[in-house]
Subunit: 239 residues, 4 copies
Amino acid sequence: MADVTIWNEYRHEREDDEIAAVYPDGIHATIADALTDGDGRDEAPDHSIRTATLDDPEHGLPADVLEETDVLLWWGHEAHDEVSGAVVDRVQERVLEGMGLIVLHSGHYSKVFKRLMGTTCSLQYREDGGTERLWVVDPGHPIADGLDESIELPRTEMYGEPFDVPEPDRLVFTSWFEGGEVFRSGCCYRRGSGRIFYFRPGHEEYPIYEDDDVRRVLRNAVDWATPTEGAPRTFGERD
Amino acid sequence: MADVTIWNEYRHEREDDEIAAVYPDGIHATIADALTDGDGRDEAPDHSIRTATLDDPEHGLPADVLEETDVLLWWGHEAHDEVSGAVVDRVQERVLEGMGLIVLHSGHYSKVFKRLMGTTCSLQYREDGGTERLWVVDPGHPIADGLDESIELPRTEMYGEPFDVPEPDRLVFTSWFEGGEVFRSGCCYRRGSGRIFYFRPGHEEYPIYEDDDVRRVLRNAVDWATPTEGAPRTFGERD
Amino acid sequence: MADVTIWNEYRHEREDDEIAAVYPDGIHATIADALTDGDGRDEAPDHSIRTATLDDPEHGLPADVLEETDVLLWWGHEAHDEVSGAVVDRVQERVLEGMGLIVLHSGHYSKVFKRLMGTTCSLQYREDGGTERLWVVDPGHPIADGLDESIELPRTEMYGEPFDVPEPDRLVFTSWFEGGEVFRSGCCYRRGSGRIFYFRPGHEEYPIYEDDDVRRVLRNAVDWATPTEGAPRTFGERD
Amino acid sequence: MADVTIWNEYRHEREDDEIAAVYPDGIHATIADALTDGDGRDEAPDHSIRTATLDDPEHGLPADVLEETDVLLWWGHEAHDEVSGAVVDRVQERVLEGMGLIVLHSGHYSKVFKRLMGTTCSLQYREDGGTERLWVVDPGHPIADGLDESIELPRTEMYGEPFDVPEPDRLVFTSWFEGGEVFRSGCCYRRGSGRIFYFRPGHEEYPIYEDDDVRRVLRNAVDWATPTEGAPRTFGERD
């Protein structure tokens, strides 16, 4: 069982009534609920869950919180620029030490993800409320545990290729969109000792994080991203 | 400029009038034409082209032919089982030595491709004549040179995920299908010193290899798969 | 806790007195001991262990044994050719379904490993009893859990590059040899739903599997290779 | 033939007489010589070579120079911190657009390389003047063209694992060091449309860039890193 911190920008939900209606307590609250949900199939995980938002002091991510975090989830969209460089440095450092990181939806443009990828993380998009079908292209992956061959989301924002990220270590999902596009929507990376998973679903205008399959993926991803012990990383001058 | 051998099963075209109408001289002849086609944009490549078919002696691939081949293209479908183990051994050996291999469409189930991948190379399919759009997911790749952001084929057979192959070294194309599926339709591998490219388009009932973009991909892939010199592979007991 | 089958050729130990002195009950027995060893640091794992050898009926690997096996370890050397194609087919099939496979030392030349890799799996070697130091190049990997920065083995057979295998998905160890060579000595692959780990140490003339660090790696590798559930692999014609 | 820019910090050679004796015109001049050297085997390449140093205005890398550069080589050591963020931004942007980047020796700690990798790029080191042998682990790679199975450098600084970089797309060289360490000394990456090669040899106190094999690697790497055309990268809102 992991110490999980869910970071949410938490602006849309306070600024826009329609979004507030979808996520009345904030996207982070819905994700927290998803991560501790048993879903009738598996037992509810016994994670220790913390939430943090942009407008908290130090964005809710002071050094001691990150130090105690096994897995950090990141949802941001309209205020990426307001995230301080000091917090980005700290998150990067903790990921390289082993903290898992799950980047959600428009978090592809977060400073944290761009820092760890080294690329623009650009993509194509269209807000059209069309259908997305996420195909499991790697059925043996633990993040796909308990899923069917695909996940269907009736109304989403479209993200299309090319997605300017390094070739994933492992591609778990590829999305089909009603409007004619595809997208690598579940991408695994390791940087330093940390596991990173980018997962596309999550537009703020639709109740994506209420979907049972999406919630299962989030739980699986937390399990996958939880650090293992490994060997010491000894750098510096050798005698 | 490369020594290219195009291998075609060459049964459908001789057995079925409708297919014969699409490829009157065999799929291999159309591909040979594509590889030496200048297309008004680049000069016509000056490859030395040879063709070989299943019913030739030794399937047209005796040792000396393979020895002189820089890049082998492979199209097969209904008679994979008739390809002799000796020829499969020889092709594998030459690929590991550096010969490029381009596996087309239903060649995913060829003995040669399965031997080199180590997996079943299974997939889902449906012969529905629907539209396929191949998205370039790796715009910096030489196999995508001169393409637009996607290739559209109005009538194709559908191939769907999961595609049981090792994670590609580099994924160049991902297909969107009108019927709701996706497929990793351009996959690069290296095995030994040889470069391998799997390229999905090519159903025998549609004139896929007449498409200008598909033809450009074939030419690009031959250039990419042509062996470089490298260093010697010295195996055995060391003094 | 996993159902583990340890496969050993079990010829050297019965044919050669000096080797019998190192592994009196066979290499498989020593590995079995390693896998259930608590080592004073972690609790002893509660695996269900089975052993199988070349001269058992069906090499000890009938369909029902493989069906019940989560992780198969493979040690072979002088009699690779005697392993039947039927057993190789079955092992490959089970790996693609999800069974973990740990290939040890001279098992690089086994039919099973060559089938799954698609390459010759050749390398250089010298039986000189020199020192090997295995460096952890991926300290965040679970197979390195609990190790120091390197493992030192005072007397080993040398294996040198080039090692003709596909580029590993993840390289965990690289060996330094006293005589001047290097070798990628811990290589992770996935094929189908199965996890494969090649681990170099294990020459039959030295008590390599008595080494505490090597034993820890074997235990870690069994944990890593144990199948997860994943999603169903649905192949065939779609409606 | 490519437009090549060689960037050198160019401080050691002006500050230290012993280093000046090794590289009297600066490391960049010796590398420029290597890149246009025919070596009796191949014809001398016809690259257009430019050099740039830290103390030039804008470090010698104004926008128009980078715009015209196909491949940039980077050597830096003691003054990484003095490289301006604006130049780092510009180099990153150009690499993602397709410019090749070859990072040499202590350049592993440059801002440019760390930016593109997303990791600390840390390693172990020891200045002991011991022997290094670089083994070709990927004999089929164009960067290994014309080499023997290994390159031996009699006196070098040691770099040891773990090297905190993302798993390379392709590992070309692994070094053996007399003192007992190993290092992944030739690592290929792609970021955006750009090819990146990290090559370890090059300590300023030894005439490493006078070595014929090292010079051959530099020439091969420039050829490998030269951009290909690719497809357009179209980002933004789709209609």
